[in-house]
Amino acid sequence: MRKNGSSKQRTIVAAAALSALLAATPSVAGSRILGTGAVSAIEGAAGGGLSPWAVLSSTASDDEIGVTAAATRAWVDDYQLTVTGASVNLHDRMEFSIARQTFELSTLGGELEQDIYGAKVRLFGDVLYHPLVVWSAGVMHQRLVDGTVPTALGADDVNGTDAYLSASKLLFNAFLGRNVLLNATLRNTSANQGGLLGFGGDQGGHAWMAEGSVGVFVTPNWVVGTEYRQKPDNLSAADEEDWQSVYSAYFFNKHVSLTGAWLDFGDIAGLPPQRGGYLSLQAAF
């Protein structure tokens, strides 16, 4: 009874906070243009969902600070991924992020959890104004909470660190009068299934992987696109395939965005192609 009451109270507080954000005037937001903070990738950094992008989270500009929080859930055939994350953007120069991933093994039973600490620096450029686009570099340190299952599958490590270089560019009026957002990321990683199955294995360790996305801003608030993430295949006991998505992200204003996607994760831990849906709600200040 008491539990019901408190969860109801939480729902009301959350709804009130959300409606306050939806009604908030843009003057309290950062000054960068709507949508240029992207959404929160599943590893916590600003990006497109599967991949970090070169833009920094929120709409904070050179003399501003932005804070972003996101809750994400992905449902595929035999698994469910839940991510809660937050990031801070300092003067549109540095981004620090933290994320907790919970990967529920709906069919196999049990769950895997990891924490991801990220830092990204904008090297130079701007996604809108700079002819040489915006370039950022970042690292993500991942720590599995319990490495028993990944180790049993043959993973070398239960912790790992990714490093990446990313470039993003908005092309104005590029497709039927609409603006088109391009992103390319090169990631050095040893993570199996993004780290949920540990790091490295009998078939390999650190390697460079390519990730990319293209999106069309149908309106200034609404971007529709697709994303691709190349994956390593380090474990002979658990074939791993590249990830892809088709996404739609709606920016209600500079504070609130909702992303929906269709996912194809390929084989995961011996189970056949994992496809499903993805929803992510983001709030930025």
Binding site: Y129, F172, P273
Partner: protein, 154 residues
């Protein structure tokens, strides 16, 4: 064979989604997009440009921080200069003869935040004066490279 079938099915589904999406864009895009017309014409010519400039200046006037940069400006001259520049960059029958962008803004202490705010005011002004989305995107795309010049002598 089963794998081939699955691949074909997923490919045809992706193709279907993509073509449905492109079809929607084509339908909405064609109404606004005329390849042969200049941006100047698609915006609505000189009357719309002048209305956009006036609308923009009212928005700037309401922003205490931005308007302070224009404290010593002759507003009529500024309006005429802005209009001739928008006309020029949109391939209209004008020649912008004002000062170059770096000289016009030198040592004003303009930050990215200021720059972004004026971009938002311009876009909002175009929306309010009925400029279609494709023409707005085109105009913003032609103005975006000026960032480099505006910020050069800050």
């Amino acid at each position: 064979m089963g794998l081939l079938n699955t691949t074909l099915k997923s490919t045809s589904r992706s193709l279907l989604m993509a073509s449905a999406f492109i079809g929607t864009l084509l339908l909405t895009g064609c109404a606004q997009h005329h390849q042969h017309a200049t941006l100047y014409e698609r915006i609505g010519g000189q009357p719309t440009i002048e209305a956009v400039v006036e609308n923009l200046l009212y928005r700037i006037a309401d922003d205490e921080e931005i308007v302070s940069y224009f404290a010593n400006s002759n507003i009529d001259l500024l309006a005429a200069s802005l209009a001739s520049q928008l006309c020029d960059v949109s391939d209209g029958p004008c020649q912008y003869e004002g000062p170059p962008m770096d000289r016009a803004h030198q040592t004003m202490g303009i930050t990215d935040a200021h720059f972004n705010r004026v971009v938002e005011y311009l876009d909002a002004a175009m929306v309010e004066e009925g400029v279609p989305l494709a023409a707005r995107n085109d105009m913003l795309g032609r103005l975006a490279p000026m960032y480099k010049d505006v910020m050069r002598l800050q």
